[in-house]
């Protein structure tokens, strides 16, 4: 009797719970999902944004062919260099922003891969790669796409943002089109507000970059950002980031960093083995390229340069003024300033740009313990603390870094690039100039844009600057030769 009661009790409970769970599932999942589909329809606000963007697209006009010609002419300029390393051909093919690399990414996407576009230097590529997604940096240096975003942004907006936004609006860049999501850091004002427009094109993840990064609470907040980015990535790719996958991603990136460091060290050689233009392009190619292949190719480039030391091949003679570039970003294919400086007989030995030596591969991720939290903390610290972006305050380490590079690379003069509308870089100029004045290093501040209108005027100023350096050198040489 007893046993029968128990059995009937169990059966009834089972049936009741299955029925209950079933109903619950029906309401929660099926009904909510159908409701959710309704919600996903564009809201009125999004409609307004999309209308605005399509209007801008219409005003942008025919930029399609000019993108190609702009990149081609920039590549032509590079190919015209004397004694260019033969291994640079590989970078040319990636830097054309179309062709094989695009079809590679397309195949990757067809296989279920996800692409995460990012801006600035705060995106942890190790974390993105550990989740199985592909990171692409999308900051643009194209001049022809700027027209389309002119009416959306204020006239004195920074050209990087104008160009990037225009590129997105016009759908000019294949890389932009392939992105599943954009990682937008709140770095400077322009970049922060750029996300508000990009939202109409591609889903956007905003990342809060703390400006007073020396505060411990801010560093904690940034680590929390890294944690939340990790879970967002896991949701996007449906791959869990595990200890081993993250470790592998960090180690692969570290291999690339070691090679980057080797290339960087080779640029210290006197006479110069590679022109600054080429080295900068090789660096920026990492934004789009497969990192492992880049590492292999760059190792080959380093070997070629090391052979040049023995065979005494150089791109310029030892007496050519050694110039360092600092300031606002210089982005491929806008090689206006590097072309002017190197065209006038100087050589760019190093730079402090966020699109060059400071971005991506410069500082290493230093893991003290290979635990999940340890790796995340190391990544978070790497993408906040050693960076010298001028949005941070205080930013004394930037001056230290410039001084260090000036000494290491035996720099004769610094060209400080200031883009119109790039206020943070302009603000830091006076302090950096003062610090370099103490070292006796001449500084040339250049305020310019993506346009080519001021080419003649800039050339005159740069030539005068280089002449001044040359004559100062000659005076120093004659002084040292005088019997004391």
């Amino acid at each position: 009797m007893m046993i029968e009661n128990i059995w009937s009790f169990i059966v009834i409970t089972l049936i009741a719970s299955i029925a209950g769970l079933g109903t619950g599932w029906f309401f929660l999942v099926v009904v909510e999902r159908s409701k959710g589909n309704g919600d996903n329809n564009d809201t009125e606000e999004n409609h307004a944004l999309k209308d605005l963007l399509s209007e801008a697209r219409a005003s942008g006009g025919e930029a399609g062919s000019s993108v190609k010609s702009e990149i081609e002419s920039a590549l032509e300029e590079l190919r015209r260099q004397r004694k260019r390393p033969t291994k640079m051909e590989y970078y040319d093919s990636i830097a054309s922003l179309q062709g094989e690399r695009v079809s590679e990414i397309e195949t990757y996407k067809k296989g279920g891969g996800r692409v995460v576009g990012y801006f600035c230097v705060f995106a942890p590529i190790e974390l993105i790669r550990a989740s199985g997604a592909l990171p692409l940096r999308l900051d643009s240096g194209l001049f022809c796409t700027m027209a389309s975003s002119e009416q959306l942004l204020p006239g004195d907006a920074c050209p990087v943002v104008k160009s990037t936004l225009g590129m997105g609006i016009l759908g000019m860049s294949e890389y932009f089109r392939l992105c599943d999501v954009l990682l937008c850091p709140s770095s400077c004002d322009m970049k922060t507000k750029e996300a508000d427009f990009l939202e109409g094109l591609v889903p956007v993840w905003r990342v809060e970059v703390p400006r007073c990064r020396d505060e411990l609470s801010m560093q904690h907040a940034w680590r929390n950002e890294a944690d939340s980015l990790k879970s967002r990535l896991e949701e996007l790719t449906r791959h869990k980031i595990t200890r081993s996958s993250l470790r592998r991603a960090i180690e692969l990136a570290q291999d690339s960093r070691a090679i980057f460091h080797r290339l960087h060290e080779l640029r210290r050689h006197r006479p110069p083995l590679i022109s600054g233009r080429d080295a900068m392009m090789a660096t920026q190619v990492t934004w789009y390229d497969d990192l492992e292949r880049w590492t292999k190719k760059t190792e080959e480039l380093c070997v070629e340069l090391e052979q040049r030391i023995e065979s005494k091949v150089a791109v310029a003679d030892s007496e050519a003024p050694r110039i360092m570039l600092a300031g606002s970003p210089i982005i491929w294919p806008n090689w206006k300033l590097p072309n002017l400086i190197e065209g006038a007989g100087a050589v760019l030995v190093c730079d402090e740009l966020c699109t060059g030596d400071q971005g991506g591969l410069s500082d290493s991720v230093n893991v003290d313990e290979w635990t999940m939290k340890g790796m995340l903390a190391a990544i978070a610290d790497r993408y906040l603390l050693p960076l010298t972006c001028p949005i941070f305050t205080p930013n004394d380490k930037r001056i230290d870094k410039i001084v260090r590079m000036v000494r290491d690379f035996a720099v004769d003069g610094v060209v400080y690039h200031q883009l119109r509308g790039c206020y943070v870089h302009k603000i830091e100029f006076s302090r950096i100039r003062a610090a370099l004045k103490d070292l006796g290093i001449p500084v040339l501040g250049i305020e310019t844009d993506y346009t080519y209108e001021d080419l003649g005027q800039l050339r005159t100023r740069i030539e005068a600057f280089l002449e001044m350096i040359q004559s100062a050198k000659e005076v120093a040489v004659t002084n040292s030769m005088k019997p004391s």
């Binding site: 460091h261 003290d368 313990e369 290979w370 190391a378 050693p386």
Partner: protein, 307 residues
């Protein structure tokens, strides 16, 4: 330049075997400037704190011989402190070695350590001086004539040894290895302190070292010894790696030049991990023995073998 962490592990392992496992079957009776238990059999070196407490308590009761012995060993201690300073803790001390081993095990298991918040660090660093003062005052007090109660005197005599977790740890280790008889007496407080010590080693890495009275003694010589740690600010990228690596909370991004702090135990893990070329360096007798380097592929391999 060699990576210092592997050299340090070798040095620690050797001293652990020689001092705590009775490896050579010898006993010199000379104390080193480290915490190595005095209740062990065949220990090559004695514990300085045993000698100190014993000398103070017994000496004050009229054992003049003890005072002389203590004076000799004090001079020896000062000489050792002037030679290596706090480097004894990271390179020789077996208690530190056990903590490092436990910490490595935790890292392999994939658990992150707990970092003591900076606002507490300042106060926690003072605990070791209070501990040192308490040890000295109590062992002196036990010798006062009015402490006539023998039981009270016996429990006040050797105050550190009554609570020292290393005593329980190493005595039980020797019992386990069959060196000491199983009947060896270990005080209850020492047994209670052992699990706290183990948890401290696992959770905050060098938990014991933060409050260790021996480090308090050695730290008086932190600027006066042959081992020093330097940081060049202009080379530093301020990436914060050293602050994560340092188990003693002694690394910061502000001070420059000679950054040998009182709580720095000269493990030089910060030099091994520092990615900035020539930013951090250590000197022995004004001779540079190591400096930081950018982590090239080779250096990284050495480091991950360690981890």
């Amino acid at each position: 330049m060699v990576k210092l962490s592997s050299a340090r592990t070798t040095s620690q392992t050797l001293s652990f075997i020689v001092i705590n496992l009775g490896f050579l079957g010898l006993q010199t009776g000379i104390p080193l400037a480290i915490l190595s238990c005095n209740f062990l059999k065949y220990r090559l070196f004695d514990c300085f704190f045993y000698v100190l407490q014993d000398g103070l308590a017994t000496g004050l009761q009229g054992g003049t011989v003890y005072i002389y012995t203590l004076a000799i060993f004090m001079v020896l201690f000062v000489m050792m402190a002037l030679l290596l300073g706090t480097a004894w803790c990271a390179w020789v001390c077996p208690v530190g070695f056990v903590q490092d081993l436990l910490s490595k095990g935790r890292a392999v298991a994939g658990v992150r350590y707990f970092k003591i918040p900076d606002r507490f660090q300042r106060h926690i660093k003072l605990i070791k001086y209070v501990f040192l003062a308490a040890v000295i005052v109590i062992s002196l007090g036990s010798a006062l004539p009015w402490v006539s109660n023998t039981r009270l005197r016996n429990s006040l005599y050797l105050p550190l040894c009554y609570v020292c977790p290393a005593r329980a740890l190493f005595v039980y280790l020797q019992i386990f290895l069959g060196i000491l008889p199983a009947t060896t007496d270990v005080p209850l407080l020492s047994i209670i302190a052992l699990p706290i010590f183990l948890i401290g080693a696992i959770v905050v890495r060098r938990g014991w070292c933060i409050i260790c009275p021996n480090l308090a003694l050695l730290s008086f010589f932190h600027k006066l010894n042959a081992v020093s740690l330097f940081r060049r600010k202009v080379r530093c990228t301020r990436c914060g790696t050293c602050t994560r690596v340092c188990a003693m909370g002694a690394a910061d991004l502000e001070t420059q030049g000679d950054v040998s702090k009182p709580e720095c135990i000269r493990c030089f893990d910060c030099i091994d991990h520092c990615p900035a070329d020539k930013s951090r360096s250590c000197y022995l007798f004004k001779k540079k023995i190591a400096e930081s380097k950018f982590p090239t592929a080779e250096i990284r391999r050495q480091l991950s073998d360690q981890a």
